[in-house]
């Protein structure tokens, strides 16, 4: 088994270690760093469950090699909250009951965070288009859209 030296930042923490070259980022986060908030499901980039943010862009960590985070900055669901207060998007998912089993939730939240970073006031259609690569089997999606709208309004309210 071959390894490669990786220097990276995960949720603001500098990390340097030997990484198995065949290891996916999702496996690295879950098994090496113990960050099990990131889930995997389809393992072929269609369900969005494993979404994390690398250098500001949402990616599917199930098919992204861990060695490729060398020199990059990774944010996972664990990085959104300091443990005391939830991120506004997390708050909004709770408020709008946008999760049932919660398995897809980290992926949806990371995607919504990436969306709101780019568009502060997305329309309903823009939200739907952006989140169309994330699957939820429980909620029927409507509460998720409401939650993202709610989070956008809240973020707007704070910044204005």
């Amino acid at each position: 088994m071959s390894y490669s030296r990786v220097q990276t930042t995960v949720n603001g923490r500098r990390i340097e270690r030997n990484v198995l070259v065949r290891q996916t980022l999702a496996e690295f986060l879950r098994n090496e760093l113990g960050m099990t908030g990131t889930k995997t499901s389809c393992e072929m980039q269609v369900c969005g469950t494993c979404t994390v943010i690398v250098d500001g862009a949402p990616i599917s960590s199930c098919t992204y090699l861990a060695v490729d985070i060398d020199g990059r900055e990774v944010v996972t669901i664990e990085g959104l909250s300091d443990g005391a207060d939830l991120h506004p998007v997390q708050e909004s998912f709770l408020k709008f009951f946008a999760l049932q089993c919660g398995f897809c939730t980290p992926g949806f939240i990371m995607m919504a965070v990436a969306l709101l970073d780019r568009h502060q006031e997305p329309t309903r259609d823009e939200i739907a288009e952006y989140l169309d690569g994330n699957i939820c089997r429980c909620t029927g999606y409507q509460p998720i859209i409401e939650a993202v709208i709610g989070a956008a309004q809240r973020t707007q309210g704070e910044s204005s």
């Binding site: 389809c42 269609v46 089993c101 897809c104 739907a128 089997r137 429980c138 029927g140």
Partner: protein
Amino acid sequence: VVAVVTAARLDGLFKWYGHIVADHPILAIDRVRYFGEPVALVIADTPYAAADAAEKVIVTYRDLDFVIEAEEALAETAPILHTMEYQVGDRSHAEAWAEPSKSNVAHAGEISWGDVERAFAEAYVTVETRVRFPMLYAYAMEPYNAMATFDNGTLDVTTTAQHPFQVREDLARIFDLPLNRVRVRSPLLGGGYGSKSYTKVEPLAAVGAWVTGQPVTVRLDAEEAIHTTRADSADVAVRSAFDKSGRVLARDFDITLNTGAYADNSPLVLTKAINRCFGPYRIPSLRVTGRAVYTNTVPASSYRGFGAPQGNLAGELNMDQAAERLGIDAAEIRRINLVHPGERHLPGKRGMDADLPADLKMVVDTLDWPESSSTNYHGTGFGCSASDAGALPVSTAIVRILADASVTVLTGSTEMGQGSKTALAQIAADELGIDIDRVRLVQADTDFTPYERSTGASRTTVVTGLAVQRACRDALSRLEEIGADVLQCGVEEIKTADGNLAGPDQSLGYDEVIQAWFEGRQGEIVGIGVVRREGTLEELPPFWEIGMVGVEVSVDPETGRVTVDHLVTVGDVGHAINPALVEGQDLGAAMQGLGAALSEELVYDGSQLVNANLIEYRVPRISDMPRRIDSIIVQRADGVGPYGAKGGGEGALNPIGSSVASAVGRAIGRWPNRLPLTPERVWELMQPEEGPA
């Protein structure tokens, strides 16, 4: 690599599992009955080593004849999958039964009453419908996983099982252990929808731990999970006899389920399909015959509403076709046949505990029927169903009031996103008169939580809810007994409210009573609530789960693509202990129904599934959401559960398929005969009879 295990290594164990018939080998014995069946278990120190080693396993196969379609499997010349007859209800394996099997029928069933033939002879019209319901995969996003250890003669399994107590029974039989030597835990599950009912990968993990003496985890990916359990596809034929006014005189159903290589829960799926196909109508003469058929495909088992969606598609589409033939409004033909509150539509079963005509009116009024339907590529459809839900009402709950007046509720029910943690805590908080923040649920650990038959059939709020309610009352009565001691008064003088016991002279909190009685900051009060089939739960089912839904759809005349413009669901749940949970269940169930109606279908080519992945097995996405959604909750306190509650969670799925099929049929002027209604199928249906030029 630590070990490679094949069936040959299992001598000394009972090598099969299955809660109805133990026909499912832990690892294939001598023959592989479907593509994807586990043949060898490779155990290594890392998943990478195990995966690499598994590729090096060489299996020598001799090709056998196989059958994929149920119809092929029923042919006289068909290869027989299981050479021995299984005895339903007997939990011993078939090998004890020396009866050679002559067919691939895993289970057959029938119900009938009245004089069906005479009714058809006297009918004003007879309407026949044949439909196919697709082979589905539930796709709980967390696949099946299990982790097992064997220590000091005790097997400890943490798993993604909905029914840990039933898994415990299968595992105890495999290893010949008493039930108290098998611990099965189900932590929070990443979705279930019935697909995590019963035993899946637990025997593999347990055998791994038994062979190696080390902890073993079996973790499936989505493709492997699809090859573990699917839902039964069905071919259903129905003919119904009507009088001139549209009253049903008789219905005659024939149901064939494609059950896959092992029975799993399909015998029960068949029983439910038989009970649920004809609808909650007044039917003077009825005959339903059905069979669950073994084929060389992924074993089929439970999936949300099982049996109901399969049968309902045929039954309700048939009602719509009858309405058209008779020139009667599709809502009216249902209204005049629906049973009324208290009426029994299935002899020997509970009378109807819902007001179906009122529910139907809500659906059609909200749909603006019949004005909303036209043949100009826009159609409306709706359907009714009533499921004998709740399963068997067996549940025990334990409530512990601790010395600081916080409360732990122990229940064997599993949380998989449906919200039992919330709903059961609400019931406990209500019964005990304390804040919900003071209540904590501990669930689904066979070592510590008391027996729960299952988490499914929409039963938790009703059946487990009653057990929790009774446990709370038991705890309070014990608390009042010691309270009388502490307050130095008679038990009958104590008034309990808002977390306080008030005697004639003073009022004390629960914590003060417990601490005074046990002397110091210690002690606790334990209450037990037991539910079994008696009293209000004597009659089965515990409740009828109602499905009343409607849709408006548009069809793209160029492509055949169906868009859902409007979805209406009526959640007739008796009492909504948590309305947000009920709405969440209704919308989630309806959306899964829309998947089956429009895009989901497992497809075989030869002996292999061609779309065992989430790209080609297409579940609904955000862009498939109905444009408008009306989720209506009806509360008439007509259920046997706490505060008049009935179950929810499956009802809104059951008639979605038939509603979409009817709506598309009205939109394009031709009735569909199978789901899913993919653009290609709808486009074909729109072409003139002689086919496209």
